[in-house]
């Protein structure tokens, strides 16, 4: 038997368009559904089906209990079948807007998309959405399956009208190849068999097209790239770099460059899936041995020395938000691209894209299933390529560093060169020198807790005491800072993140100046306190949790804020309608319901001094 090639495709459209029916029928007519499954289908059709006594082919696909009971598709279902000409992997994707993230998951693995429309309804908002998402994820080939031709009497004219309208739409959204096929999935017309009812259509059936379409892959002819996945060192005599070739080909003797270090070397040996060989090509999982002993780790990229990818740490990117909690600019996330991890911050949301109309809208946050064009900065320069050139070096995910959820899929568009032009100015007088002059270890004491817990009172008392002992200090207080530096910020989640970012940055500068800085901010979110912590050297940041029960704070209500919040006059108030996330491992845990403010201030001072002697 001649080796089969493989086509990975996704199908999108809604239940109303007959998408699951189309795939189920395609599989059944292609003769790849086993008999016992057809029998089970007959049983399921009677129990859950929506087609009366006839087989409901959609039930071949919807796998989860909830999906069968509710007659909807929630998640991507993967289907596998082969004909004598080709082997197929089908990602059957849900069509509703609320499952955009699942469609993107399917599209990321595919080379071709089948977009369904109902011939009797014409192009719909969701047709635009599906085509846009497919194009965004880099799919260059789309088949428009115009289904339910039986509903319009198998007439050519309405089909041609839909085709014309769709070709214009696809061209605007950047899809290179479009094929339109009229089908009647319920009866099987133009899926596997032509049927006799549409003699006017001379193009291929859906299956014929899928069996023969050539999906060009630009990465096979590009320059060599291999993200190092795993370093193989079984014994002192062997050191190899394992990974999957992302693009191009490299042969033994070729000059390679290691990124980001920029060290050059030569390819000495290639171990392929079938043992020693002389070259490594796109898509192959190989182990490479280099001529020189270099320090190379997972995440580095081996590339053709004559045409290496660029390095950058700031990018313009498209982001599809997948998380249940919204994207907040300024919050750090883990970014994964290729085999590399970095810490990423979204600096600015340039605009949000309406997935239905592709209109650009102003936005300060992205919610689940929303797409935006953003500016993203990393804690390190990484080798990259635009997503349009390389899915491997241009496609990334963002992971929440606390919940570990995958919260975004991203596509790098281009590097922002600004970082390259603002060089870090090296200064001779540094933190150590300034601190020595003051005879103290600079520190950031970060007080966190509910409003009314007593943070400012304790911080104030602690500062007086430290001053009396001859230390140089400064107190940054939340309310005071909001009168000046942060007076443009409100109390939404986005503004709270930015509030903390600015204060943390100011505190860092003051610690750099050699001071002991006391920061008294509610700072309700763990992620922001962690972001603040990461700006300081080990041991410099002391998180002080002023722990007071909500009832106690509300009873005190020194500023009368709780009363206002309860009365609904104050929104986003921590503890009432905005959450407080207590620290998990603070350096110092104060119990405001047990000890007096002065006693707690003394604990803070002791902690600073004890640490000083250590």
């Amino acid at each position: 038997m001649a080796p089969l090639t493989q086509l990975r495709l996704l199908t999108c459209g809604s239940v109303d368009d007959g998408k699951s029916t189309l795939i189920g029928r395609l599989l059944a007519d292609a003769g790849v559904v086993p008999e016992d499954l057809l029998e089970q289908l007959a049983r399921d059709s009677r129990r859950y089906g929506t087609c009366g006594d006839a087989l409901d082919y959609a039930l071949l696909l919807d796998g989860l209990q909830d999906e069968r009971e509710q007659g909807i598709t929630i998640d991507v279902a993967w289907r596998y079948f082969a004909t004598p000409r080709r082997s197929f992997i089908v990602a059957d994707c849900p069509g509703h807007e609320q499952y955009t993230r699942n469609m993107a998951t399917g599209a990321s693995a595919c080379e071709l998309a089948v977009v369904l429309v109902d011939a009797s309804a014409g192009l719909k908002t969701q047709t635009r959405r599906h085509t846009y998402i497919a194009a965004l994820l880099g799919i260059r080939h789309v088949v428009l399956a115009v289904n339910k031709m039986d509903r319009i009497g198998y007439a050519e004219e309405p089909f041609r009208a839909i085709e014309t309208e769709y070709r214009a739409l696809a061209a605007r959204l950047g899809v290179a190849q479009v094929t339109c096929v009229p089908v009647a999935a319920v009866h099987g017309d133009m899926l596997v068999r032509r049927g006799a009812r549409m003699p006017w259509y001379r193009g291929p059936t859906l299956l014929e097209h899928l069996e023969t379409v050539v999906v060009d892959d630009p990465a096979t002819t590009a320059a060599f790239r291999l993200p190092v996945q795993w370093v193989s060192r079984p014994d002192a005599g062997f050191r190899g770099y394992a990974g999957t070739v992302a693009a191009g080909t490299a042969a033994v003797g070729d000059a390679l460059v290691v990124l980001p270090s920029g060290r050059r070397t030569t390819l000495a040996r290639v171990l392929g899936a079938n043992g020693e060989t002389d070259r490594a090509g796109k898509g192959e999982a190989v182990t490479l041995v280099l001529a020189d002993e270099l320090d190379i780790a997972r995440g580095d990229v081996l590339a053709a020395a004559c045409d290496p990818p660029a390095l950058a740490d700031q990018f313009a990117a498209h982001l599809l938000w997948l998380g249940d909690a919204p994207l907040l600019p300024g919050r750090p996330y883990e970014l994964r691209v290729g085999t590399r991890s970095a810490v990423a911050q979204i600096g600015e949301i340039r605009h949000r894209v309406d997935v239905n109309t592709q209109e650009h809208l102003a936005a300060r946050r992205l919610d689940l299933n929303e797409i935006g064009e953003v500016q993203i900065s990393l804690d390190q320069a990484i080798p990259f390529e635009p997503y349009a050139v390389s899915r491997t070096l241009g496609g990334f995910i963002l992971v929440d560093r606390i919940s570990h959820a995958t919260v975004a899929a991203g596509m790098l568009d281009f590097a922002l060169r600004r970082a390259a032009n603002i060089h870090w100015q090296h200064l001779d007088v540094d933190k150590t020198v300034r601190a020595a002059l003051k005879g103290q270890r600079p520190r950031c004491l970060w007080f966190t807790g509910l409003s009314g817990a007593g943070k400012s009172t304790i911080a104030n008392a602690a500062e007086r005491r430290l001053l009396a002992l001859g230390h140089h200090t400064y107190l940054l207080d939340g309310d005071n800072i909001r009168h000046g530096l942060n007076r443009d910020l409100g109390f939404t989640d986005e503004d709270r993140v930015e509030n903390i970012r600015r204060v943390a940055e100011v505190a860092r500068l003051m610690v750099d100046a050699g001071l002991i800085v006391l920061v008294s901010f509610i700072s309700p979110f763990r992620a922001e306190r962690r972001m603040a912590r990461e700006r300081f050297a080990a041991g410099e940041f002391i998180e002080v949790f002023v722990d007071a029960p909500l009832a106690l704070c509300e009873q005190r209500d020194v500023k009368g804020l709780y009363a206002k919040a309860r009365a609904g006059q104050l929104r986003h108030f921590t503890g009432i309608d905005s959450p407080y996330e207590p620290p998990e491992a603070p350096e110092l845990h104060l119990h405001a319901d047990r000890d007096s403010a002065l006693a707690m201030a003394e604990q803070v001072v002791r902690a600073v001094l004890a640490d000083d002697r250590a």
Partner: protein, 307 residues
Amino acid sequence: MAARPERATAMDHLDRLEAESIHILREVAATARRPVLLYSIGKDSSVLLHLLLKAFRPGRPPIPLLHVDTGWKFREMIEFRDRRVAETGVELIVHLNEEGRAQGIGPVSHGASVHVDVMKVAALKQALDRGGFDMAIGGARRDEEKSRAKERVFSFRNAQHRWDPRNQRPELWNLYNTRLGPGESVRVFPLSNWTELDVWQYIRREAIPVVPLYFAAERPVVERDGALIMVDDERLPLRPGETPQVRRVRFRSLGCYPLTAALESDATTLDAVIAEMQASRQSERSGRVLDHSAGTSLEQKKREGHF
């Protein structure tokens, strides 16, 4: 720059599946704290073991095998397991639920469902907890069953080993989110995109050893509830009136022998097995007794921690 000419033959679909699986195995080795490969001795496990050896050549795989024994495997399976381990030099951990064995739990005395719950699902959780494994590789394929078709390659489990099919991590490209909290783990399925036919064609292409039970031979069987059950040894108590008869049979899928039906066949070679499967009109797990109890039974088992 001028692009280098491509190699004469492009990757065919088996090459592509092989490379993808090796990539996944290496990703586990690079990111897991303590990985393990669930080795169940069947054809999929044979392919996994073969890929594991390939992925880490010239070194030894940095991932041990774990076999959860139920006490009811075919004798030939255990012999085959021990032979392959000796030949390949990989590390093997065998776990058996001793409490279950002490209570005499078995598929014949307690029924398939209790047996699977105690000797497979509970035993697996015990073994994973005791070993402190954070990533467990399995040979499941998406084409086996409906709920498997929805599962991720890196499939997240909470600290109780439970799967939440409605709330899976999105999985884009071949970027796998391998971050875990305390007690959490992932099940990893490198063969997700393989079909049964791919597995057999790959076994033939690579000459991978498999348990001889997959090939037709004269074997003693009894016909029980419409299925042909092999009388492997004295562990299977015969019902009144049952007399083992010798028939020419083979197995399409291997589990605990009283729960795995044989099919009558003359296929004694790989070519014949593949030809028979291509002509077959029955799905692969039709021989597994457990799967017939309810339409969503495997999904239920998986939510509870089963592979």
